[in-house]
Symmetry: C2
Subunit: 333 residues, 2 copies
C-alpha cells in the first residue's frame, strides 16, 4: 500500500515491519479527558505513531481570534505545559491582556491567558493568510514540540449550536459563559454535517491499526466528530479495531456535563448508554471497575467489554489505562 | 456655517460664541514628543476642543495585529496610562504573550506588551469587521476615556518605506529592529501620497482656529502626514493660524533620529532647517531658548518666531509650553 498523494502524513511503517500488532493508533478526542488519556498513550507507545482527530465543534472567535479549545487542551497536555490543576490552559498563566480588554468594555467570560493568546494569534494569522486550520494546527504542534499528530476533524466552520431551556446557545456560551447550567434539549451539529473531513482524517481511521474514542463527552465532544460526513462510515468500514473508553463512571461524568447531556437528551447516564451510541462501529468498550456489572449488557451489544480503572488521577493512572488498552487491542489482532 | 454631513464631529462651538480667540485647535502629531506636548495642551484648554491628526506612516502588522504606534502613544499619554519613563507603551506592562510568541519561533523585536495587545486586538477585530481605522480609533479613544479627538491622517495603508545604507526598510524595521542605526537616504511616502485623508482631517484643518505641528520628527512623523493629498494644501489655505514647534534643540533631536534624518537627507539639523521645511504654511515657529539666535533667520522666512522652553521634562513644562503658545496664538487673532 503506497501513501496517497493527497495524504500529507507518512503512514509508512506498518505492523508487519515492526513486530508490534498496534503501530498506528488514531484517537478521536474532545478536551480534558481525552488529553489525559493521550498523555498516557504517548507514554505507552511511540508518540509519532499516534494521530489525534480533534473536535472543533467548540471552536469560537474571541476578540477576533480563532480559538480551538479542545485542540489546545490536547496540545498543551501533550507538550507538558498544561495547567494540571484544572486540566486545560497553560501552567503559570497570567491574564493582563484580558484585564485590559475588560477595562475597555469587552466581554471576558472566556478566560484567555497572556501566554495562551500567543497560540491564538499564530493560528489566526495563519488562517488570515489563507492557511487551513489543519495547516495551522500542524505548525502549532511543531512549535510546541509535540510528536503526536493533531488534526482537526474538519478545516471548515463546524460550531455546535445548542437548543437549551435558556434559548439557543453556541457551545462556549453554554459551556463557559453559562457554566453548563442550561438543560440541553437538542445538539445541532448541522455545521459539522455540512463540513468536509480535514485532509488525513478519513485515511487515519482507515489505515490505523486501532482507533480509540477517548473518554470524552459522547454528545458534545465525540458527537461533532461523528457528524462530519464520512467519519462514522470510515469507523464502520475500517479494518482497524475500534475501541471506546466510557467517560461515564458510576453514572456520573468525571468532568463536564456528559451525564446531564445524556439524560436530558433521553439516553441513560450510564456506560452502557454510551456504548449504545457507538454500537455500529465500536468493537471494544472500556468501562470502569465501578461499572463492571454493566459488562454483560455491553457484550450483548456485540462488543468486547474491557473493565479497567478509567479514573486517571496521576500520570501513572494515565499510562496504565493506555497500556492495558493497547495490550487488549494487540491481543485481538 | 453648518456641519457637513460627511463630517462626523460636531464642530459647533465657534470662537464667536465662546469669547476665547482659540477654541478649536488641531494638532499634527507623531509619537512621544507630540504626546508630551498634547498632554500639556489638554491641561491648558478644554481637551474636547483639540483634534489630533496622527501619523500612521509607522503603522505595521505584527502577529496578524494592526499596530498604530504613534496613535497609541498619543492615546496612552492622554489617557494617563503611558509608561512615563520611556514615553510610550503602558505603565506597568508585562510581556508574557511576547515571550510565548518568541518560544514559538516568532520575531519579537517589536515589543508588544500584554496590556498593549488588548488595544491591537480591538483595533484589528474592528478592521476585520469592516470598520475604518478612524472608526476603530474613535472607539479606542472612548474606551480609554480620552476627550481629545484622535484621527489617523488616513484610513488607507500609508506605510513609510525607507531607502537606507542597509537596504530598503519599513519604518519599524528601521526604527525598532535596527534601532535607527542605518542612514536614511530617501524617505518614500508614496503609500501616503496615494491615500485619501481620513474623514474630518481636512475639515479639522480648515475649520480650526489654530493648527499646531507638534515637536515631532519633521521627516518621518510629520512628513507622512504632509504627503497625504490635500493636507498640505489645506494648511496653506486655512484661515487658522498655523504654528510649529521645533523638535530640534541645539542641533539635536530631543528624542529619536530627527537630527540625523535631516542631515542625511541634505537639510541642516537646526530649528531653522525645520522651519524651512514648513515655510509655505507655518506662520508661527516655536524654537527653544538655546536656539534664540536663529530667531532672525526664521523671521526672514516670513514667520513669526517664538522663543520658549521647548524641552518638556515635567508635566508643568508641558502645560507651560502649551499655555504660552496658546497665548501667542490668541494674541495674533
Amino acid at each position: 500500500m503506497s501513501a496517497g498523494t493527497e495524504f500529507p502524513f507518512p503512514f509508512a511503517c506498518k505492523k508487519q515491519e515492526r513486530g508490534s500488532a498496534c503501530n498506528m493508533i488514531t484517537v478521536l478526542a474532545g478536551g480534558v479527558g481525552a488529553a489525559k488519556f493521550l498523555e498516557g498513550l504517548a507514554a505507552a507507545m511511540p508518540p509519532a505513531e499516534i494521530t489525534v482527530i480533534a473536535n472543533t465543534g467548540d471552536d469560537a472567535e474571541f476578540h477576533g481570534l480563532h480559538v480551538s479549545p479542545d485542540m489546545d487542551t490536547v496540545l498543551y497536555t501533550l507538550a507538558g505545559v498544561v495547567d494540571r490543576e484544572q486540566g486545560w490552559g497553560l501552567a503559570g498563566e497570567t491574564f493582563h491582556c484580558l484585564a485590559a480588554l475588560e477595562r475597555m468594555g469587552e466581554e471576558t467570560w472566556f478566560r484567555l491567558g497572556d501566554r495562551d493568546l500567543a497560540t491564538h494569534l499564530l493560528r489566526t494569522r495563519r488562517l488570515r493568510q489563507g492557511a487551513t486550520l489543519s495547516e495551522a494546527a500542524e505548525e502549532l504542534r511543531r512549535a510546541f514540540g509535540v510528536r503526536c499528530r493533531i488534526i482537526p476533524m474538519t478545516d471548515d466552520p463546524a460550531g455546535t449550536r445548542l437548543r437549551t431551556d435558556q434559548g439557543e446557545l453556541s457551545f462556549q456560551e453554554y459551556f463557559v459563559k453559562l457554566r453548563q447550567k442550561p438543560e440541553v434539549l437538542e445538539a445541532d451539529f448541522s455545521a459539522a454535517a455540512a463540513s468536509k473531513p480535514a485532509p488525513g482524517v478519513l485515511e487515519s481511521i482507515t489505515r490505523a491499526d486501532a482507533v480509540i474514542l477517548a473518554p470524552s463527552n459522547p454528545i458534545l465532544s465525540i458527537g461533532p466528530i461523528l457528524a462530519v460526513p464520512g467519519i462514522r462510515e470510515a469507523l464502520r468500514n475500517t479494518t482497524a479495531t475500534v475501541a471506546a473508553i466510557s467517560p461515564i463512571v458510576g453514572g456520573r461524568a468525571l468532568k463536564g456535563p456528559a451525564a446531564r447531556n445524556l439524560a436530558s437528551l433521553g439516553y441513560g447516564a450510564t456506560a452502557a448508554a454510551v456504548a449504545e451510541l457507538y454500537r455500529d462501529f465500536v468493537k471494544v468498550f472500556v468501562l470502569d471497575e465501578q461499572d463492571a456489572r454493566q459488562r454483560e449488557i455491553i457484550e450483548r451489544k456485540g462488543m468486547r467489554a474491557m473493565v479497567a480503572q478509567t479514573v486517571m488521577r496521576s500520570s501513572e493512572d494515565r499510562r496504565k489505562l493506555a497500556g492495558s488498552l493497547l495490550k487488549e487491542l494487540e491481543g485481538l489482532r
